[in-house]
């Protein structure tokens, strides 16, 4: 239930320098072209000094142009649109549901079906932690609606390619093929 009808959100992953202002630069480009960031997850990557970001952006147009623009940012080491690739994606949700003596076991049953964990139980409420892809979480939330959701918090999506392939290939050392222009302008 992404709220954007038929429009398919894009999943974009990026490896970026772990520095202040990086998010600002990236977000600024999305804003400029009118993309709404539906979710965003940032954390350390396997490479020191580099963070890994996963964006989900709504798009009624091709995001290719923006991705190219983002790739030009000095702080963006590598970026790719994995919307059409074979990926594993997960998000995490915590749902605080109203639950008393009568309803508690029903809620726990639902949680179990969704392989979700109960992380906090109080006399009138219960917190369920669930992990899965977006659809999985959506379904769980849907079912829990019956029991009055007090609070819902979801992380952004994180995604990586299936199989042995690296999502962000290591940069190979490139030979400097570029010749700086001479100082004088002559025909």
């Amino acid at each position: 239930m992404n709220g954007f009808g038929k429009i398919r959100p894009h999943t974009i992953i990026a490896l970026v320098e772990d520095r202040p202002g990086v998010l600002n630069r990236i977000a600024s480009k999305w804003r400029q072209r009118g993309f709404n960031i539906e979710s965003l997850a940032v954390g350390h990557s396997e490479k020191p000094g580099l963070s890994r970001m996963t964006f989900v952006v709504d798009a009624d147009t091709n995001a290719e142009q923006v991705v190219k623009q983002l790739d030009k940012l000095v702080d963006v080491v590598h970026i790719r649109d994995v919307s059409h690739e074979d990926i594993v994606s997960r998000e995490l949700a915590m749902v605080k549901v109203k639950a008393d003596r009568q309803t508690r076991s029903h809620v726990i049953d639902i949680a179990e079906v969704f392989r979700a964990e109960v992380v906090d139980v109080e006399p009138d409420s219960i917190i369920i932690e669930a992990t899965g892809d977006q659809q999985h979480i959506d379904s769980l939330v849907n079912l829990l609606q019956d029991y009055e959701i007090i609070e819902l918090v979801r992380t952004g999506r994180v995604a990586m390619l299936r199989g042995p392939e690296v999502s962000h290939p290591h940069e190979t050392e490139e030979e400097e093929q570029y010749e700086r222009a001479p100082g004088v302008h002559t025909w």
Binding site: D71, D75, V77, E179, H185
Partner: protein, 583 residues
């Protein structure tokens, strides 16, 4: 530290204004703004003196550095203090960003402890300039200064050039630190050298050129930036293809070359716009198929396949879908291409072009006693024979300067293309004159634009730069008036200008002021200006309601170009004469 970085980068010119936050940058300059003290070890100050020029508004510092960079090919450097000093640079930075000009802007920032606390003269200039810089950085410790400066120059000048802003708090500037310098800048996220002339694409491009019967080269700013003058000429001559230059590509190809066709687009030559619509192949070199070039995009070049030579991957496929793409800087890409192209006679194509030019001359100057702006430009050309730099602002005068002047000196046309910044003409002429002190610099000004930056006449008078300002004065914001006339039922709101007496104004600054009110005045006034050793301001009182043609109405396609409406009188057309002479 900043200064030492400048010396290592070969900086010799800074434009700027001091203020509270960037005073430490000034404290190392010798009195008068020449040289630095103390002299860093191993640097001979006389070999690379750094000269600072005090301008009157930071916008002009950025524009002057911009023009300086365009003329020299080096990064232009400008200074601004925190807050308003930095925000005043913004227009200049955006201008350089749109036109891919290497600029290093160093701004002072309030002291670290005050950042984010609304300190006096604080502005988040890093945040403000994110969308208009290639990169920017707020330096937080003194040890980062050398790295930040080295990276700034590297990023600004490599790949597709652009402006870089380095913001340094005053306390960081005042700290002592150890200077270091890397042999080679390594940035994980910035690889400007991916020069990939792909073999398959190259073969495809060569085949397209060989098969093409009606090809055109569209030569852009990239040709000038990468100094690909010889290469584009070789491509044109070897493969026998006519050349059109975009506005910023003007003076990237000899203006009197027989294969040269002039400018395309909104105010381009009629024959060019029709030719693009008829062409079966467009070779775009270092240009980005901007909307002012293409007209209505969906009807742009309907019969043509496109080869795109471009350094910036984000430009490839942005506006048009190329059949073949050569990625890399214009010079090396064309060198590869030139190895394989062969001569092909294209008699019918050239004959067709010839007929188009005969039937639709586009640039004609009517016989009248009034001062026509086109005549003014043409007379400046006649007086200089193109051996000068021409700086322009934005508007009608800019288009006339692009149409009625034959740029035979490489990289001699300095104009604000992408951003279209009125007022660019005055500071740009300063930058060009500093970059080329022995050359003549003509600044062709609109009266509207001139009024935006004329405070710099004080700077020009101070340094006695012998710039010739030709104000194409129609007492109106001409291009806007033209749009009002053509598209807004002649509702002339807020366009007529009540200008000052430009001659008296020039004199108030201690500059020679001249005026031409009749056609007969034009020539002698230009001659007087040329023989005057110092700066000159000429007020050319031109016809109020002259329109700039040809014109593609906004939203129309190139084949809907409106040509010059009047052919009552066709004077000797310089273009034809030159063409004949050149052959």
């Amino acid at each position: 530290m900043v200064m030492e970085a400048f010396l290592r980068e070969g900086v010799d010119t800074i434009f700027g204004i001091p203020g509270g936050a960037n005073l430490p940058l000034y404290d190392v300059l010798e009195a008068g703004g020449v040289g630095i003290r103390p002299v860093p070890e191993g640097v001979e100050p006389k070999e690379s003196p750094i000269r600072h020029y005090l301008v009157k508004h930071e916008q002009c510092a950025a524009h002057a550095a911009d023009a300086y960079a365009r003329v020299t090919g080096k990064a232009g450097v400008c200074y601004g203090t925190s807050g308003p000093g930095a925000t005043n640079l913004v227009t200049g930075i955006a201008n350089a960003f749109m036109d891919s000009v290497p600029l290093v802007c160093v701004t002072g920032q309030v002291i670290s402890a005050l950042i984010g606390r609304d300190g006096f003269q604080e502005a988040d200039i890093q945040g403000i300039t994110i969308p208009i810089t290639k990169h920017n950085e707020l330096v937080r410790t003194v040890d980062e200064i050398p790295r930040a400066m080295q990276e700034a120059f590297y990023i600004a000048t490599t790949g597709r050039p652009g402006p870089v802003l380095v913001d340094i708090p005053r306390d960081v500037l005042q700290h002592k630190g150890k200077f270091y310098w890397q042999d080679k800048v390594q940035l994980r996220g910035y690889k400007p050298y991916t020069n990939g002339v792909n073999g398959d694409e190259l073969a495809k491009a060569v085949e397209l050129i060989e098969q093409s019967e009606r090809p055109i080269i569209l030569s852009g700013h990239g040709v000038i930036i990468s100094h690909a003058y010889a290469e584009v000429r070789e491509l044109a001559e070897k493969a026998n293809i006519p050349v059109i230059t975009t506005l910023l590509g003007i003076s990237g190809f000899p203006g009197t070359h027989p294969l040269y066709l002039g400018m395309p687009g909104m105010h381009g030559m009629y024959w060019n716009n029709i030719a693009i619509s008829e062409a079966d192949l467009l070779i775009g070199v270092g240009m980005r198929f901007d909307d002012r070039v293409t007209g209505r995009l969906k009807d742009f070049a309907p019969k043509a396949k496109i080869i795109h030579l471009e350094i910036d991957p984000a430009e490839i496929g942005k506006n048009v879908k190329p059949t073949a793409t050569l990625r890399g800087d214009a010079r090396s890409s064309m060198r590869e291409l030139n190895k394989h192209v062969t001569h092909r006679e294209r008699g019918r194509w050239f004959q067709w072009l010839e007929e188009m030019r005969r039937d639709h001359p586009s640039i004609v100057i009517r016989e009248t006693d009034e001062v026509l702006p086109q005549y003014v430009i043409q007379q400046i050309y006649e007086a200089t024979k193109g051996n000068c730099y021409v700086c322009t602002g934005v508007g009608q005068h800019q288009m006339w300067a692009a149409q009625y002047f034959w740029y035979d000196k490489p990289n001699s046309f300095i104009t604000s293309g992408g951003l279209g910044t009125m007022g660019f003409e005055v500071p740009a002429a300063m930058g060009a004159q500093v970059a080329a002190p022995n050359d003549t610099v003509w600044s062709i000004c609109g009266d509207g634009g001139f009024m935006m930056t004329l405070q710099e006449l004080a700077t020009i008078a101070e340094y006695q730069w012998p710039i010739k300002f030709a104000i194409v004065n129609n007492n109106v914001l001409g291009m806007v008036r033209q749009w009002q006339e053509l598209f807004y039922k002649n509702n002339l709101v807020a366009t007529p200008l009540k200008n000052p007496d430009f001659v008296k104004l020039a004199e108030a600054f201690g500059i020679l002021g001249l005026r031409a009110q009749k056609k007969l005045d034009v020539k002698p006034v230009i001659e007087t200006a040329m023989s005057h050793p110092g700066p000159v301001v000429i007020d050319f009182q031109v016809k109020y309601d002259e329109n700039c043609y040809p014109m593609v109405p906004p939203g129309a396609s190139l084949d809907e170009t409106i040509d010059q409406p009047e052919y009552a009188y066709q004077p000797k057309r310089v273009s034809d004469e030159r063409k004949v002479a050149a052959r």
